[in-house]
């Protein structure tokens, strides 16, 4: 009897630890994933569902990989904490930096991990009118629906932009130890499409 107890106790401890680790792994996967539009079908009210879908998409829009280059000021940010970009570059007239410090000089065609520098052929700062830094999700939502502040895009073009644009896609393949945006670009595009189909309603906050 005693020997059985001796065996059961370590097994129970191992089982408990395993379940804790599994739960941790699941929760950390979940925090980096996106819910599907179908998972919102239990919300009967279409407007509420639309706003909830946008809130899910907001996990991407407010992620450092996106907000860092949609700053409120003239300097981009970097890193998970969104600290000011070093070296101290500025927006410049065309969003590609000042004369002596242009974005593509360091940011090449693709990520260069030995130098820890992200890259893309079109690397540049979002226009000032598309600043997301410091805004609520509701404010960002109203902004990206507004053609005056979204680069003149229709909602359909916005869905296409979020779901297929390769610079947007960099957020899911950021290189060198950077945390990618949640989910996948395709999933973000699917959410954007579902949001538009349900009326493109913005969250109140």
């Amino acid at each position: 009897m005693k020997s059985q107890m001796r065996i059961k106790f370590p097994v129970a401890v191992v089982a408990l630890l395993t379940s804790m680790l599994t739960a941790y792994a699941v929760s950390s996967v979940q925090s980096d994933s996106l819910a599907t539009p179908e998972s919102f079908t239990s919300t009967a009210d279409t407007e509420a569902r639309s706003a909830a879908i946008f809130a899910e998409l907001g996990k991407v829009l407010t992620h450092p990989r996106c907000v860092n280059c949609h700053p409120a000021g003239d300097r981009p940010h970097q890193g998970e904490l969104g600290r000011l970009h070093q070296p101290p570059v500025e927006r410049g007239a065309d969003g590609l930096g000042l004369a002596a410090m242009r974005c593509p000089i360091c940011h090449q065609q693709a990520n260069f991990d030995p130098g820890r520098v992200p890259g893309h052929p079109e690397w540049h700062l979002a226009p000032r009118g598309m600043a997301w830094e410091g805004k609520t999700l509701g404010e960002i939502c109203a902004q990206i629906k507004d053609r005056e502040r979204n680069g003149g895009r229709s909602l359909e073009e916005l869905v296409h932009h979020i779901g297929t644009d390769s610079l947007v896609g960099w957020a899911w393949a950021p290189g060198f130890d950077r945390r990618p945006a949640p989910g996948t670009q395709k999933e973000a595009g699917t959410l954007a499409e579902a949001w538009v189909k349900t009326g493109a309603v913005c969250p109140t906050r």
Binding site: Q86, P87, P88, L98, A99, A100, M101, R102, I105, C106, Q108, Q109, F112, D113, P114, G115, R116, V117
Partner: protein, 180 residues
């Protein structure tokens, strides 16, 4: 691996195979032994590693070498600190740096020299007014760090070269063309 061919200080190098993860700084210093280009912060913040890249249209810009791949320079023409002196004679800017005691440890000098040279060539094509000169120099050198704090000396050296040849670098102003 990438096949790399480029021109450095007017001399063709390559084609040669280089690793994709090789930085341009390591390529210059370790592969070619051109140690005039320094390795400073390793994060493109001090620009002691900057070299001049010459575009086909005659314009130039400086580029850090510590955070960019050697492969990305394939087909390009660049200049390093080793290329400024001609026939053993220092360039006007190099002489001005010495005259002004602009550098102390000298680690940042190659970067400042390249940036200053690009500025001179830019002004020769597109002169600025005397009133805008100080701001123009400051903006051009702004991104370079000097731990010995030689900023004013560098600034003065660049300014002296420009004022010594004002008709080349400065625009005649509406108020009577005072270029001093």
């Amino acid at each position: 691996m990438t096949t790399l061919s480029l021109t450095i200080n007017g001399r063709a190098h390559g084609p040669m195979e280089v690793r994709d993860d090789l930085t341009m700084n390591d390529f210059l210093r370790e592969k070619l032994g051109m140690t005039g280009t320094k390795f400073g912060c390793g994060a493109a913040q001090c620009l002691s590693c900057a070299v001049i890249v010459d575009n086909a249209d005659g314009t130039s810009y400086t580029s850090p070498t510590c955070v960019v791949s050697a492969a990305s320079f394939n087909g390009k023409e660049i200049r390093t600190v080793e290329g400024h002196a001609k026939n053993g004679e220092l360039s006007a800017l190099q002489k001005a740096f010495i005259d002004h005691f602009a550098f102390q440890c000298g680690y940042c000098t190659a970067g400042f020299l390249n940036e200053g040279q690009v500025l001179l060539e830019r002004l020769a094509k597109k002169p600025v007014s005397r009133a805008d000169l100080e701001k123009t120099i400051a903006e051009a050198l702004d991104s370079h760090l000097c731990r010995c704090t030689g900023y004013i000396k560098y600034h003065e050296a660049v300014r002296d070269v420009i004022l010594a040849d004002a008709s080349r670098y400065l625009r005649v102003t509406d108020s009577g063309g005072d270029r001093r």
